[in-house]
Symmetry: C2
Subunit: 479 residues, 2 copies
């Protein structure tokens, strides 16, 4: 039987002002994890959540993470673990969010104070750092609990919560904690839901079932012992930049084709089923052009564009360390230059196979240059891709929840970037992980004038609650 949700929805509408006030109170705490000066506000934000959770009747355990390795004078903010409900007859769902935010200064170009939630009543836009990333979604779970209590509706699941305070600065310590708690605090979890990404566009909700991985490389070419003057030495010395530019030129063409032999063979073939998924997705080329601020796309059509972003690898050359990079002119022959490039990886590319092909290719091309400089290539960091089944009951429940709130079937999307915690949760718990976004693509997370639309927040609270109702009753037929 489909859950009866109208009472809950009405209650959320009734409480919308207080939910917005709660978001304003959270935004007012500048919990910037990158800034040592503001670290105490990250702790304050942990206190804020703990107090709210306790008031709702949840149990809370603060997990200290010790000192920050790179900045040993700083203590890491705690991970807030919380449980609401302990009924063996209910499903247990684990949700994740983060309570820290990106840095923000009025001087960066914000139209309003970034740490004051500024609600534009006409457009419904609620501006403020953290509004969409990720304080809105985190409060969404808490608001859902409260609305159930106020409406006298039984909460449909046991809810496990994991809220961290370092997501915007490397999630230091989180992976170990998740691995440790998988068989402890999280042991009852039957599925995982993360609300920390965005709709593909501004209108239509989506469920996200895949993320690309990334392997980041540094390619170093080294010759003279120190930088040289091109007037004195130009023509007599083998210049590292010449070799580096040549090598970087062998990696990718401007149509996005990666030129590293063997790499494309690692990519999972496109099935007919998967192909069909792309046709229906609500996305226009104009959406891409709006994002780029130009029409310099590789593909002319939606399907190939989305596939290129989600299910095919890409290679980007990010820049060069050690060469002249300032405005103006400098007649230097750089002695040691480090090219930086990364490959966005997709199923079934094993990171170690990718490394091997990259090294093999660069060594081969290096030999061809017949240079007397020296070359070194190494992996900077790597994160694996993640793909879940959009047909899993966790997704099926979320899909029905979207329909009940938005009267539309969600798009099944993937994303081009990585959210490493997704894979960590999946591997540590062995359970299905769903990405259920609240905000939209226009929210400008990480940028100036970050906002969350009132509609996305309020309907989003309904969505999170509805999801918990559907996931409570969804039969476990498909994995």
């Amino acid at each position: 039987m489909a859950p009866q949700l109208q009472g809950y929805f009405d209650q959320v509408d009734l409480m919308s002002d207080s939910f917005i006030a709660r978001l304003a109170a959270a935004v007012a705490i500048p919990s910037v994890s990158a800034d040592p000066e503001l670290r105490h506000h990250v702790f304050k934000m942990a206190d804020f959540l703990e107090k709210l959770l306790l008031a709702l009747g949840a149990t809370v355990e603060r997990r200290p993470l010790g000192i920050e390795p790179a900045r040993p004078t700083l203590e890491l903010p705690p991970v807030i673990l919380s449980r609401y409900g302990n009924d063996p007859n209910k499903r247990t769902i684990l949700v994740y969010g983060h309570y820290d935010v990106q840095p923000a200064l009025k001087e960066d170009g914000w139209a309003t104070d970034p740490f004051v939630l500024s609600v534009d009543e006409k457009t419904g836009k609620m501006f403020g750092r953290g509004s969409t990333d990720d304080k809105g979604p985190v409060l969404g779970w808490l608001n859902a609990i409260e609305a159930h209590q106020k409406a006298g509706i039984e909460f449909p699941v046991n809810l496990l919560m994991c809220f961290e305070g370092m997501e915007e600065y490397g999630s230091e310590g989180l992976d170990d904690l998740i691995k440790k708690e998988a068989k402890n605090y999280f042991k009852d979890a039957e599925a995982v839901c993360i609300s920390d990404n965005y709709w593909l566009g501004a209108e239509k909700p989506c469920l996200t079932y895949g993320l690309r991985g990334v392997s980041y490389y540094e390619l170093t070419v080294h010759g003279p012992a120190q930088d040289l003057h091109s007037g004195v030495y130009g023509g007599s010395v083998t210049e590292p930049m010449t070799d580096l530019v040549k090598l970087l030129g062998t990696l990718v063409d401007n149509k996005g084709n990666i030129l590293i032999p063997g790499l494309s063979e690692l990519v999972a073939p496109l099935s007919e089923d998967e192909k069909l998924l792309y046709q229906g997705i609500s996305f226009e080329m104009q959406d891409l052009y709006d994002g780029l601020g130009s029409e310099t796309s590789i593909h002319p059509d939606k399907e190939r564009t989305l596939m290129a972003r989600w299910r095919y690898p890409s290679l980007s050359i990010h820049g060069i360390e050690g060469a002249f990079s300032a405005p103006g002119a400098k007649t230097v022959i750089p002695a040691k230059v480090i090219g930086k490039f990364s490959i966005r990886t997709v199923p079934n590319m094993e990171p170690k196979d990718v490394d091997e092909l990259v090294y093999q290719h660069l060594n081969f091309e290096w030999e061809k240059t017949r240079t007397n400089n020296t070359m070194k290539v190494g992996l900077g960091h790597a994160g694996k891709w993640w793909v879940s089944s959009p047909k899993h009951w966790n997704f099926a429940a979320a899909s029905k929840a979207v329909e009940s709130v938005f009267k539309v079937k969600p798009d099944m999307t993937r994303e081009g970037g990585s959210i490493p915690v997704t894979l960590t949760f999946e591997q540590a718990t062995g359970k299905n992980v769903l990405l259920l976004p609240m905000g939209s693509s226009t929210d400008a997370a990480h940028s100036i004038n970050e906002k969350l639309d009132k509609r996305n927040y309020i309907e989003g609270i309904k969505l999170l609650g509805a999801y918990l109702h559907y996931v409570a009753v969804e039969p476990q037929i498909e994995q």
Copy 2:
């Protein structure tokens, strides 16, 4: 009849302590033209020279240059014009030098205080900013006058002097002054001598008859309106870095061959005569390796190495503006990237022809990329090459002077870099210009621990005086 110089040489030896004390007094004035805080010391250095010149009986005219255009709160230091002698029966020689210096801080790694001349009595090295560049040579001319006076030897020429105080910061205003004074203050000049460069090695003097020019280009590739996240957009957008790297890869190979069609045809052919000049030059490949701090030379032999530095063009890629250039990793797709490269030019490359070939080549290669980004290439700055005849009487006189002081024939050298004032003097006065270095290649001008060897300073004073004796009597047979 060869000049009788022993009396002058003996007098210089006799006065060497006072000449070193004079250099110490000059080094003690931190006349750093780049530093606004030290600008008053540049003026103090101008006063120092003016006072010395007047004491020697020279006439002095200070030419104010107005305010510094880029930093309008700063007044430019004056050009010191001076004349010693006004005998219509004598030749008139114009000499140039500069009294400002490069910045220097003890913290940069100096072993001694950069503004205290520190004489190592064992090695004869005299450390101090400006010792070799260019206070030693400037004082050399004044010391030569004084030694003549003290020895009671008639000064052989009328000496015109032009000393500027902005050489290390762009010689602001100097070109216009030289052009203006060519037919005024400098109108009697029959030849020009500049002592502001260095021996090719540490042992053997040289005369320098050529300098390469430089044409500096900026190659801009522009796509999206702002930097993009490679996770989100990688694979869907035509990346400007991919296009730029491809284009930069078409400019030069790692053997130093410039790949721009037509460019090598502009280079003056190597004559048999010229080829012979290179064989005798005192230079070992080890000297190059010492300079590089590595053995990553293009050519294995001296002759081709020196030709590559002096008489053939070279192309260096200096770096990229707008891409990621810091240590660490950033997964950015840069929206607008500016490749910087320059070509060292030689006879008979006309700068405008070089520009045309560069633009033509890049446009052709750009078309081949079939990209939808936009490209722009432009000239940053250009300075023309300069080559004089090493057989001119000005050089013949200097060569004899070297032999009389050092008992060895000087090497006839060119340099790979540009000293733009050389060409300005030649074009403005229409007279032969000679570069007559005092310091050696090991002096570390512009670096930490700049020094001038006592031998180079004292024998250099003899050399400048001897040059004036020989140039006074050298027949004007060869141009």
